[in-house]
C-alpha cells in the first residue's frame, strides 16, 4: 500500500509535465494541422537554456526558468516563421517531412553545442525529502508539480477568458471562417506554435533539475507527447491534460510492477491499444470526431 501511494505520487509529479507537453502538441495540431516532430527538441532546448542560465551564468533559479521558457517561445516563433509559413496549404506529409528534418538538425545542433556528456542543473531546494506519512518526496518535485499546475491553469484562463483565447479556439474550429471574422490567421499560427513550443520548453526547464540534460532526451519526449495527445484525442486539450497523467501513471506502475526495462515502451503499447480500440482518443466528444 505504501509502495502504491509512492508510485501514485511520483506519477502525479511526472504527469504534470507530460500534460504540459501534450497540451502544446495538441494545440499546434488542432490549430495548424501540423504534426510537430520538433516538440521534443523544444523540450531539450528549454532544459539546456535552464542549465546555461542557472548553471554557468549563475542566474537566480526561478528567473532562469522563466527566461528559458521565454526563449522557447521565441524559438518556436522562429521555426514557424521560417519553416511552416512558406508551407501553408502544402500536404500534411510534406510538412511532416520538413519537421522531421528540423528535428534531426536541431538535435545534432544541440549535440554539437553541448557535447554528449549529461549536464545537471543546480537547484536551491533542500535535498532532504519531505516525508508525509508513509511516502516521501523531494521538495524540488513538489515545486515542479506546482509550477506545472500553475502553467496549466494560466493556459486554461487565457484560452477561455481572453479575446486572444477566443481567436485561437475559433481558428481551431475553422480557420477560413475565423479569418472572415477578422482573425489574423498568420499571427494566430505563429502565436500558437510559439505558445505550444513554450509549453514544451517549460516542461524541459522544469524537469532539467530533476533529471540530467542530454541532447538525445528529446526523442523519447516527442514520442511520449504524441502518446499523450493520442490518448486524449488529437486536438483535444482537456483530453491531453488527462492523457498526460494517465501516461505517467501507466509508466510508473508498469515500471514498478512489471519490468522497469520496458518503462519507455509502455507509452507506445498504450498508443497502439488506443489507436486500435478507440482511434478518436479516450475523451473525444460524441459529435465532433473529425
Amino acid at each position: 500500500m505504501d509502495q502504491l501511494l509512492q508510485h501514485v505520487l511520483n506519477a502525479v509529479v511526472l504527469g504534470g509535465t507530460y500534460a504540459l507537453l501534450g497540451i502544446g502538441l495538441t494545440l499546434i495540431f488542432g490549430v495548424m494541422k501540423v504534426a510537430n516532430f520538433t516538440h521534443g527538441e523544444l523540450y531539450t532546448f528549454g532544459a539546456y537554456m535552464a542549465y546555461l542560465l542557472i548553471g554557468p551564468l549563475g542566474l537566480n533559479f526561478f528567473l532562469g526558468l522563466l527566461i528559458a521558457v521565454l526563449l522557447g517561445v521565441l524559438l518556436g516563433a522562429v521555426i514557424e516563421y521560417v519553416l511552416l509559413r512558406p508551407l501553408q496549404g502544402a500536404h500534411m506529409d510534406t510538412v511532416m517531412l520538413v519537421m522531421i528534418g528540423a528535428w534531426i538538425a536541431l538535435q545534432n545542433l544541440e549535440l554539437l553545442t553541448w557535447g554528449g556528456v549529461a549536464k545537471s542543473v543546480p537547484q536551491p531546494f533542500p535535498t532532504e525529502p519531505l516525508v508525509i506519512g508513509s511516502v516521501s518526496v523531494a521538495p524540488l518535485r513538489i515545486f515542479v508539480l506546482l509550477a506545472a499546475l500553475v502553467l496549466l491553469a494560466v493556459f486554461y484562463l487565457i484560452l477561455n477568458r481572453t479575446k486572444f483565447g477566443i481567436a485561437i479556439r475559433a481558428t481551431f474550429q475553422d480557420p477560413d471562417v475565423s479569418s472572415l471574422m477578422g482573425v489574423k490567421i498568420n499571427q494566430m499560427f505563429t502565436l500558437t506554435f510559439a505558445i505550444g513550443s513554450g509549453l514544451a520548453a517549460a516542461a524541459g526547464a522544469l524537469l532539467a533539475p530533476v533529471f540530467v540534460v542530454i541532447p538525445i532526451m528529446g526523442d523519447l519526449v516527442t514520442l511520449k507527447a504524441f502518446a499523450v495527445v493520442i490518448l486524449g484525442g488529437l486536438g483535444n486539450i482537456v483530453g491531453a491534460t488527462i492523457g498526460g497523467f494517465i501516461l505517467a501513471l501507466a509508466e510508473e506502475f508498469g515500471a514498478g510492477y512489471i519490468d522497469s526495462g520496458y518503462r519507455d515502451a509502455i507509452g507506445f503499447i498504450l498508443i497502439i491499444l488506443v489507436l486500435l480500440l478507440k482511434p478518436q482518443g479516450l475523451f473525444a466528444p460524441r459529435e465532433r470526431t473529425g
Partner: protein, 343 residues
C-alpha cells in the same frame, strides 16, 4: 532513355566496377551502401507507391537481421519455468530465408493493425512499433544478448554446383552477392509496380475514396504492400547481419529509418530508380564526409538536406532528370492541382 535502360546500364557499370577498383575500403563502402539501397527500395514501395509514410521501417530491417542471426547461431527460447526450447544452429541460407519470412509476417501483422488509421496516426504507430522492437531487443537478454550484442554471426553461404556449400567471406564476393540481391529486389519491385497490385496502390495513393469507389480493396492492397516491403527490408537486414557479423539493438535506431526516407525522397519517391540513386548518394556521402566533418555535423547536414529537398526538389532527382522540359511543365501543373485538391 527509359528508366529500365538506365537501371540496366547502372547494373552493368556496378558489375564491372570491381575489376577497375581494387581498393578494399571502396568495395566495403559500396557493399554497405548496397544493403541500404535494398532497404530504401523496399521503403519506396510503401512511401512512393502506396503513399504511406512508414517511420518504423527499420524495425523490419532489424527483425530480419536478428532472426537470421539467431537461427544461424542457434538459440534457447525461455518462456517461463519449464525447460527452454533449444533451437540448433541452422544452415545460414535457411536462416536468411527465415529472416525474410519473419519480417514479412511482422509486416503483415503491422499492416493489418496500422491501416485502420492514416496520416499522423499511422506515422506515430509505426514509430512506436520500431521503438518497442528496439526495447525488446535491448531487454530480452536471454534471447538477444541485449546490449552485449550478438557476435560471431557466420557469413552467408550458398550452395554452388561442384563446390558444395561456399561461405561468402571476401569483400569481392560480398559485393557481388549484394549486387545480385539488389537486382533481384529491383526486378521484383518492377514486376509488382507494373502489375495490377502496383496500379491499385498508385490509384489509392492518388485518391483513396475514388479507388475505393471503383472497387479496389484498399486495406488488402496496403497490407500486401507492407508485407512485401517488410520482407524485403528483412532480407536487407539479414544480409547486413551476415555481412557485418555482429548486431546490437542499435540497428533499430530511428536515424536509420530517417536515412532510408531521405534516400527515397532525394532520389525520387514513386520511381523505381529513385531509391537506388538516392541510396548511392546517401550511402556514399557519409564515407566522404567522415574525413571532413564530425558525425553530429553530418547529421545536421542530413536534416537540412531533407528540408531543402522538400522545398526545392519535392519530386526528387530521378523525375527531374527523366522528364523532358515540355512534359515537365504539364506535370508540375497537374501536381499543383493535386496538391490543391489535397488541402
Amino acid at each position: 532513355m527509359t528508366e529500365r535502360n538506365i537501371a540496366l546500364c547502372l547494373a552493368a557499370i556496378l558489375a564491372v566496377l570491381p575489376f577497375g577498383v581494387t581498393n578494399q575500403y571502396v568495395l566495403f563502402t559500396l557493399t554497405s551502401a548496397g544493403i541500404l539501397v535494398i532497404a530504401a527500395m523496399s521503403l519506396n514501395l510503401l512511401l512512393g507507391y502506396a503513399g504511406q509514410l512508414s517511420l518504423g521501417h527499420v524495425a523490419f530491417f532489424g527483425i530480419g537481421a536478428y532472426v537470421s542471426a539467431l537461427f544461424s547461431l542457434g538459440f534457447e527460447f525461455h518462456y517461463g519455468a519449464e525447460e527452454p526450447i533449444v533451437v540448433p544452429a541452422l544452415p545460414v541460407w535457411i536462416a536468411f530465408v527465415l529472416g525474410i519470412c519473419f519480417a514479412g509476417v511482422f509486416g503483415w501483422i503491422i499492416g493489418k493493425l496500422a491501416f485502420r488509421v492514416r496520416g499522423a496516426f499511422f506515422v506515430i504507430l509505426t514509430i512506436g512499433f520500431a521503438q518497442v522492437s528496439r526495447m525488446v531487443a535491448l531487454n530480452w537478454v536471454s534471447l538477444t544478448n541485449g546490449p552485449m550484442a550478438l557476435t560471431n554471426i557466420p557469413p552467408l553461404s550458398f550452395w554452388l554446383p561442384g563446390h558444395g556449400i561456399v561461405p561468402i567471406q571476401g569483400r569481392m564476393e560480398s559485393y557481388y552477392v549484394v549486387l545480385i540481391l539488389g537486382i533481384i529486389a529491383y526486378w521484383i519491385l518492377d514486376r509488382i509496380v507494373h502489375s495490377r497490385v502496383g496500379r491499385a496502390l498508385v490509384a489509392l495513393r492518388e485518391n483513396e475514396p475514388l479507388a475505393r469507389s471503383v472497387g479496389i480493396r484498399v486495406t488488402r492492397y496496403l497490407v500486401l504492400a507492407t508485407a512485401i516491403s517488410a520482407a524485403m527490408a528483412g532480407g536487407a537486414g539479414a544480409m547486413y547481419a551476415h555481412y557485418v557479423r555482429v548486431i546490437d539493438p542499435d540497428v533499430f535506431m530511428f536515424i536509420y529509418t530517417v536515412t532510408m526516407v531521405i534516400m527515397v525522397m532525394t532520389g525520387g519517391k514513386g520511381t523505381l530508380l529513385g531509391p537506388v540513386v538516392g541510396g548511392l548518394i546517401f550511402g556514399l556521402l557519409p564515407e566522404l564526409l567522415r574525413q571532413l566533418v564530425r558525425p553530429e555535423l553530418q547529421l545536421i547536414i542530413y536534416g537540412v538536406a531533407m528540408i531543402l529537398i522538400v522545398f526545392f526538389l519535392p519530386r526528387g532527382i530521378v523525375p527531374a532528370l527523366l522528364k523532358r522540359p515540355s512534359s515537365a511543365s504539364n506535370e508540375s501543373k497537374s501536381a499543383r492541382m493535386n496538391s490543391e485538391a489535397n488541402t
